[in-house]
Amino acid sequence: MSVQNWTLCLVGLSFALYIGIAIRSRAGSTEEFYVAGGNVHPLLNGMATAADWMSAASFISMAGLISFMGRDGSVYLMGWTGGYVLLALLLAPYLRKFGKFTVPDFVGDRYYSRTARLVAVMCALFVSFTYVAGQMRGVGIVFSRFLNVGINSGVMIGMGIVFFYAVLGGMKGITYTQVAQYCVLIFAYLVPAIFISIMVTGNPIPQLGFGSILADGSGTFVLDRLDGLSEQLGFAAYTSGSKSTLDVFFITAALMVGTAGLPHVIVRFYTVPKVSAARSSAGWALFFIALLYTSAPAVAAFARTNLLTTVSNRSYASVPEWFKTWEATGLIKFNDKNGDGIIQYVGDARLNELFIDRDIMVLANPEIANLPNWVIGLVAAGGLAAALSTAAGLLLVISTSVAHDLLKKEFRPNISEKNELIAARIAAGVAVCIAGYFGINPPGFVAEVVAFAFGLAAASFFPAIVMGIFSTRMNREGAVSGMLAGLVFTASYIVYFKFIKPDLSDAEHWLWGISPEGIGTLGMLLNFFVAASVSRFTAPPPDEIRRMVESIRVPSGSGREDSVASPYSVSR
């Protein structure tokens, strides 16, 4: 069977599976719509969280980024996994004990303040919309490359599928489709990784093959060969870094803390039945994520080696077929500057003749390594699963924010359960359409705003939630001024360097050499500092808030008779 038929077949089957699951798990109440009824098994929730978290960026772009960045790429590897330790130890169990449905719920109740709640809702909406636009774009790219449909129709098909299960099933439908999507995406990621590892090193485990000797009989290690090839062509050695230590430190911290503060990840921990389940579920989530994240750097190294050995110094007339197919999509460009018909792929920008988009490293990898056609189709289905699962999780946060946090809590407190559910479905539907619009007409700055999403989550949510749990003294004035200080500082820094003066965005002009990607860390520190100072000079929180904080620190529902102390047990 041809690549295209395999792709059609595998993508079609996976879509049929998602729709089947969606029909079986429709949501009947707002509790089912927002938190899947609160009784998802921790292992399944771990899988769903992993799929929720790993987006088109993790599946398609990350290994490519690493293969071009070498050691500096570890900011993504550590940053996007280390946040789960913070989440498991500092947030998940306590938020689960608190109960209710959303992050703004916690911020609003803990700080007895509508302003705090509104700030939280606005941040949640902004972060989620930023993120979802990129996912829809990813769906479009996969469709256009593998199924020969335009990017726009690809986005429309993706919208249709997400619309179907997010609007119908809410969190319940999303949870069980995400479990299926995790299985599809991890299989699709590991199969080619294992194939390539065997081919390059003879070791079937990519994590080990990465540190093994090449299978070509030369007796050199993979990474040594890669360092040698890179330096020979004028690139930096693969295992050495070029970013400053301080900047790497700040970027990693911003990604970690941002991960722990992302509302679509946090909200998944409201869906498990118990506090202890929330803890173990975070462990499962990180385990499932680590399967992909420890394979990615191996894939990156293998792909880079393959690329350097197959295309460099080769005559253009004799390039393999995949080169031409990707050239047709514009993601590979060859410009024969010296007219000798040979591809010079070198570190020196003036002499380099080859442009390669990082995003194709994972998608083209099976073709570069000459893997069977079904593997290529599988990678397409996996990329779609990654993009769709994340998009659905984000759309749910958007619809919950609108129907629950804004409509019910701010404007219509007496709305009936049935009408709230209808409002949530309409909000999800509208959000799908807006996301699709951005997928078809992508704002040119999608890549830039991702720094925004993490920076803002790090500078706003994370400190507010952590202080809300670990300090009984933190009050409304402190939390609100801290969040605003963190937000304004981080947002202005990013806007200044990304949009107002992008030409000044280099280490020389940055504050202490910290790039806009890492500035969220400083915003977070500022938030902690401002909040602590302001709360010292203002009135302590009321006694019932103090009791509520004491109650969320213990797993058992000891304060059950007290409605503030344990709101969740009352609603059950």
Binding site: L77, M78, L89, A282, A290, P297, E550, S556
Partner: protein
């Protein structure tokens, strides 16, 4: 259920666990993977420079292990102080 002093002791133990686990978390990632990466790179394990291995593999394994240990410790602590949720519906 526990009285006030008991709960305070429960919380103090919890904070001590967090302090220890987060120190390891910090050392594995920011220490070995970022600040001391060049020093560790002089040590080789198979085909890996050690610092590079921590940055791209080791730190992630340690993260998973930390959560596993945390879950065990907390489950035991919950039982010791009688604040676990087993008898609840």
């Amino acid at each position: 259920m526990g009285n006030k002093t008991n709960l305070a002791a429960y919380w103090r133990t919890n904070l001590r666990y967090l302090g220890i686990l987060l120190s390891i978390w910090f050392l594995a990632s920011y220490g070995c993977g970022i600040v001391f990466v060049d020093e560790l790179d002089t040590i080789r394990i198979g085909g890996f420079h050690l610092g590079f291995w921590f940055a791209q593999q080791g730190s992630i394994y340690i993260f998973v292990a930390l959560i596993v240990v945390y879950v065990q410790l907390m489950n035991r602590l919950d039982r010791a102080y009688g604040v676990d949720e087993r008898d609840e519906s």
